[in-house]
Subunit: 201 residues, 4 copies
DNA sequence: AATGAATGAGCCTTCATTCAT
DNA sequence: AATGAATGAAGGCTCATTCAT
């Protein structure tokens, strides 16, 4: 009886998805392995078979999540030609009904809070940031080549755009009554135009 | 007729300070009441005398912290005359050796992660945001009156500046190797100038 | 400044009364010294001045309570001439609105539960029982002398009457929906008449 | 597919028995979960697996206890033919060496004390009372049919007998020096005969 | 591969008691 | 006489992890 080779892949995906949802709902500090088992439809021992410890599981969850978000953003960007349009293509990230948003944001905050004190999580963030930066940098370099943007350092600007986006999105998520989507979209547009386009400051 | 009338005030301050440091060091998810008691030089029961539960204490810690940071920022701003200078006056917030920074940032991330799921913490953030916004708005309105800035909505711009600052600071704090202080300062400058000054976009 | 000699008496009475009410409301197992202090309008230290420990206070409370109930019963009995009337004179003990009832019964159950395991409380009960028995015995002896009762051992019968009363009252108190007052009064009457009056069994 | 399908039943029985003994020995107010764990030969977590909280366990303990006592009484009664004999068949309840007595009585007093303030316990008593009453009522109805008893309301008399029994047993248990077994047995006999048999009162 | 019973350390909270004032 | 701050032991409960089956 040969083992089913894909079983591990299937189980891990099933666990990761259940864990992400559960962590998002309860928060890192409160979620229990039992919660996750229940959501994954597996027993404690079953889960332990694939992820040896809570920490190992959490790292895997966050890694997978970051990768997925990044891939999706990459694909969205690829739909546009114009560099500016590419940089403004993350509209879906301001859609509360989007599953990656309503599940993802809470997890992101948890992960930040963990990253402050634990290297492993910090490194997850670092990798994610670098992925974003290289994506944005490509678009900026293209804009530079086409002469649309003013003279600037593309990497450092890419970092700034990424950071600005996150700052605005955070406000939008934590206090949406005072920071509605229109405000977020407009503020982001203005800020990155200021960073990119020629002006007479 | 208590012997030392200020005792409660003293003790509460002592507890709050110890708690802030301890939470900052270990993180909300890991800190124990015992840790805090030890740091405060009080027994469990002694602490309970002033703060009845962990949650009550934490809310008090965060509230006090937000207030202090805000007051300090206010005072810093007041040192400058020029509206732009006022808006750029938060340099100390990029100083890793500043106690409010190395103790404060970790706590801030914890609080965000809590705010995602708990109203009480969310409301703490809301109040803090509003304080900042009104502070920044005053400076912007002054700039508008003086004709330094382009035509803009001062409140919405104040929100944007505050958000942009936080986004950049987050990167700087979580991944300072790739986001050094110079990058943070420069990026902030560029972004808010883009938001404020007349340009020909 | 001579101390006020009656102060101790006043304070102790005040504490005992507050303690009785508080114990009755929360139960021995749950009541705290703080509860009692609050009810007595005294501080912890103030109370400790008069009763050194929780146990000391509780014993005093129960002792006082038993004594008061007994005195009241004695006075009630004294109102009647006829021996049978005397023995049936405890009607007030079936009045839920009577303070000695609605405060007293709960405390009585607590005390029983304590008496099972602790000699001190058992001895309190013993004394109370003996008081009752001697009271009832006097009435029975009077009935015997008057030839109203059949030939019987007055002490042992006094114990039986007392026990029967308590059994019926317990049912009445714990499950009054199924054991209404009329049932209690009637059952008591029938049972003691069976114990006392001549019959042809 | 648990390896031992009856394991839960076995464990629960083991826990319930250990808990009953431990509660009986220390009293509801003093017994700790640790005591019970030790007696049951289980760890804290192990016990929690079967009974989620102290209260849940206690309710189960009392319920099981009441049921067992009732079943035993039922069986004892069934050994007799004559209605009066049936009603007098509870001799074992006056045997201090009987495990159901020396373990059971203390628990009964605890339960009463709890029942005063908590509905859940009160309802346990109510059910127990009703069981007893229906048992006694059957015997009384039989006696009525056979013409042995005087004209009476069988249910209300059943309640009275049950209450009288409990009152006498309480005295016997709490103060056996003054209320010996012979007194208890005799008093019970006299009282219920007075309640049942024709007399010329 | 999967189950879930069992462990036991750890946590928050409660509370009788003590004691300086 | 009276206060109430402070102690610290103890209790109930949670939960990641282990392991026999």
């Amino acid at each position: 009886m040969p083992p089913i080779p894909e079983l591990e892949v299937i189980r891990k995906a099933q666990i990761l998805e259940a864990a992400l949802k559960t962590i998002s709902a309860s928060g890192y500090a409160n979620v229990t392995m039992d919660d996750i088992c229940r959501a994954a439809g597996l027993s404690k021992g079953g889960l332990a078979h694939y992820y040896r410890s809570k920490n190992e599981l959490f790292i895997a969850v966050f890694k997978e999540f970051f990768e997925r978000i990044f891939q999706r953003s990459k694909q969205t960007m690829a739909l546009y030609e114009n560099p500016i349009d590419k940089l403004l293509s993350f509209d879906w990230l301001y859609d509360r009904n989007d599953p990656d948003v309503n599940v993802g944001y809470p997890v992101l905050f948890d992960c930040m809070s963990l990253a402050v004190r634990e290297k492993e999580y910090r490194s997850l963030f670092h990798d994610w940031f670098e992925n974003w930066v290289s994506l944005l940098k490509d678009a900026i370099d293209d804009g530079l080549k086409k002469g649309i943007f003013r003279n600037l350092d593309s990497e450092s600007t890419a970092r700034a755009i990424s950071a600005v986006y996150q700052g605005i999105a955070t406000r939008w998520y934590l206090d949406s009554a005072s920071h509605p989507t229109e405000w977020a979209v407009e503020s982001f547009k203005k800020a990155i135009k200021g960073l990119l386009l020629p002006n007479n400051i």
